[in-house]
Point group: none
Chain length 134, copies 4
């Protein structure tokens, strides 16, 4: 299955619904399975520094086919892959990037959310990913 | 006046309507007055190389407060600003980037379109910019 | 309100007055609300490595609409946003970048100071920001 | 002789006086002999894309110890150094960057001006360089 515009729009809408419910303004980035930008939206009032973070979280998730914070297990102090976060132009190994998979478990892209606190971004990204029709 | 999400969405919808009428799939990027990404959408089927071009055309337009192809008058062979296109991380001095202005003529951002032939991209970008409520 | 040249010059003058009182030579960078350079000045004797730091502190402040050292609360060891400092081309999450706001609280830019000890840079940046007419 | 803050400020003031006389808003960048930023000022209304151009013209002048447009003689079509303009992170081989020399002819820096037409930028940069006390 390939990520479509309809799918991407549904993901963004679900993210923004959850963000509005939480009272935060976020950036939402949707990448395809190749890590290429499919859709992006910045809610009015979201800080500028979070544009790059939303993109980077989604990139981290799609490149490693996992949620962005899982990458931290490899590069945190004492873990075996020191400085992994410097690869690929810089990763964002913290919450808010969620891999998107189809019904068969195939990777079709990722969504990245930034603008709230990390746990809010994570909650929003999960709600967004769950909106993907399967 | 500041560019809002509503304004950005209207611009993208108008661009995609015109692209559909022309039978091409394009990328549309909307930047704010500071050149920061506000919204982006890639239609299904648009080539990957056009993602960067849509972003770059919009950047060219907003940084020089003019349409992207106007920059070519400065850097084409024989013109006075050779290699101007190497500045600002690389410009796209050809059609498809249109500056967005408010009713008072103030710069509020730019739209960049890429995916069709250059004249199609330009037509789509102009139709998109015209959709901005003033 | 937009940051003007008069405002930027007042900020730089206040920074240099304070730096002179402290006996240190600093770089002072003033960015507008979009993170674009408005004015910069390097006092005679300031170290070269601080040029980039002054610019980067100001960028950090304006992109996250806060003082630069506040970003450290997100990315220090044990904090939730590991490697946040790698985003946006590299942040400077320590003292010396101060967001500039107008009387209504709107973000209009940032000032970044580097060249002294971090607490001196911070004191100078705060004195500089306080000089902005409101 | 080393470029001082007083010298840099005199250069910027002279540039802005000439720009005002010509009715254009420009960016002025002053670099030292090592190509490091000494002072920068953006007049209100100057386009954002010219910030990088002012810096790049000054860099071109100081790196090759000549005025920026002289570099074009080496890299224009038919000249021996094709693509020279791609070196050093990208040069600006057109008018508006002027090398600064002391009374003994030693290179002490460069000034770069951008924001007007190329011939205006060049006139402003020359007026600025002439203001350097010797």
């Amino acid at each position: 299955m390939q990520l479509t515009s309809d799918g991407a729009h549904g993901i963004i809408a679900a993210a923004q619904d959850r963000a509005a419910a939480l009272g935060v303004a976020v950036n939402v980035a949707v990448l395809d399975a190749g890590g290429h930008l499919k859709a992006f939206d910045r809610m009015d009032g979201a800080v500028l520094g979070s544009i790059d973070l939303a993109l980077r979280k989604a990139k981290t998730a799609v490149l490693f086919a996992c949620d962005s914070e899982a990458v931290w297990d490899y590069c945190r102090p004492g873990a075996p892959a020191h400085a992994l976060e410097l690869s690929n132009g810089g990763l964002a190994p913290f919450g808010g990037g969620v891999a998107l998979t189809d019904a068969a478990g195939g990777l079709i892209g990722a969504v990245g959310v930034s603008g709230g606190a990390v746990d809010q971004d994570l909650e929003i990204a999960r709600a967004a990913a769950a909106a993907l029709p399967r």
